[in-house]
Subunit: 207 residues, 2 copies
């Protein structure tokens, strides 16, 4: 059975590989802004789950077109950081935005929301679906000005949801979490395992 | 400045590399059982800190002998799992012991204790010392019998403190943690950063 990861995130790929799964990476062309705009005042956890589902469904449509006899699971993911001031943040994109976010969030607690959708494909059709989300508290440390500038200069925080990583250089500046660390990196292993079981797949069958 | 990791753990090395530090790995010949036996009824957190300190000091003695002009920090680490029944566990070593531990700890909460010692070396001498520990709650999932046997067959749990990993295949079977995930993998980035600051080193100087 193929494990198809509907995400271009190298962090998600690394989590899965370290956990014994070698995914096929497929990147969907979902217009995230348009999808978000189409939902009426969604809760943040609804939004990440809807985006994860849209990404997985987009790949499922391709899979059906490309390989009718396939036996696969497709996993879609989306992550956002809900900060203490109630705002929802994706990737900062620029040094200036990342610096501003860190100035606000240093020493505070945020919630990293991760949505996942699992589609089981068989004989060219989606035969089972499961979706859910994880919410993990993140306690941010207080980098010094020197450390923050050095961190921004690495470029790492610009391209990740919430302007930090747990498994990279950002890990020095996260004092702790309450929840599943793999959900913060981008793909929750225990949630994925639970969703796989809902579509009758044991994770050990993917090793 | 050199960062010397007094540990042969590939997981610790991987955490540090991902966090921007390329350590020199040096393995101490500390007799852990003899050291543990020499302490009078130590609390588990005292034991991991004492073992971490002994490992770093053993390397410091070598460093002094080998390179008198060196400028370096040496970091020693030790980890143990304190299970819900009050027992302290290191590496299980065999499939049988690992299976027995998982049968007991599935669905329970344990505490992963990690001790660190940092020695700053300059001109062939230890010029500053800092040590401390982290305690992180780990909520174990419930692998099915099929999943547990598949996990044991990978060999991974035999060689790690507490018979599980967070950053490998064990991650499927940890529902969550409360604390620092890097401390569970084996080297706490926020604690190491704090100890480095106590010996006047900024972590960004090591990148």
């Amino acid at each position: 059975m193929r494990f198809v990861l509907a995400s271009q995130s190298p962090a998600r790929l690394a989590v899965l590989r370290a956990a014994g799964v070698e995914p096929v990476v497929r990147v969907s062309g979902v217009d995230e802004d348009a999808l978000a705009a189409s939902l009426t005042d969604p809760a943040p956890e609804e939004l990440v789950t809807a985006l994860a589902t849209a990404k997985a469904e987009a790949i499922a449509n391709d899979e059906i077109a490309n390989d009718e006899d396939d036996d696969a699971v497709i996993v879609g993911c989306d992550s956002m950081l809900l900060t203490a001031d109630g705002e929802v943040h994706g990737k900062p994109g620029t040094v200036e935005v990342a610096r501003e976010r860190w100035k606000k969030m240093a020493g505070t607690t945020g919630t990293l929301l991760t949505g996942h959708a699992v589609l089981r494909m068989h004989g060219g059709k989606v035969v089972a679906r499961a979706a859910g989300h994880e919410a993990t508290l993140v306690r941010f440390g207080r980098p010094t000005d020197e450390e923050l500038e050095a961190y921004l200069a690495t470029g790492e925080p610009l391209h990740v949801a919430g302007a930090f990583t747990l498994d990279g250089q950002g890990g020095w500046f996260v004092d702790g979490i309450d929840g599943d660390p793999s959900s913060v990196i981008g793909i929750s292993l225990p949630l994925t395992r639970k969703l796989l079981r809902q579509v009758d797949v044991a994770v050990s069958d993917l090793w």
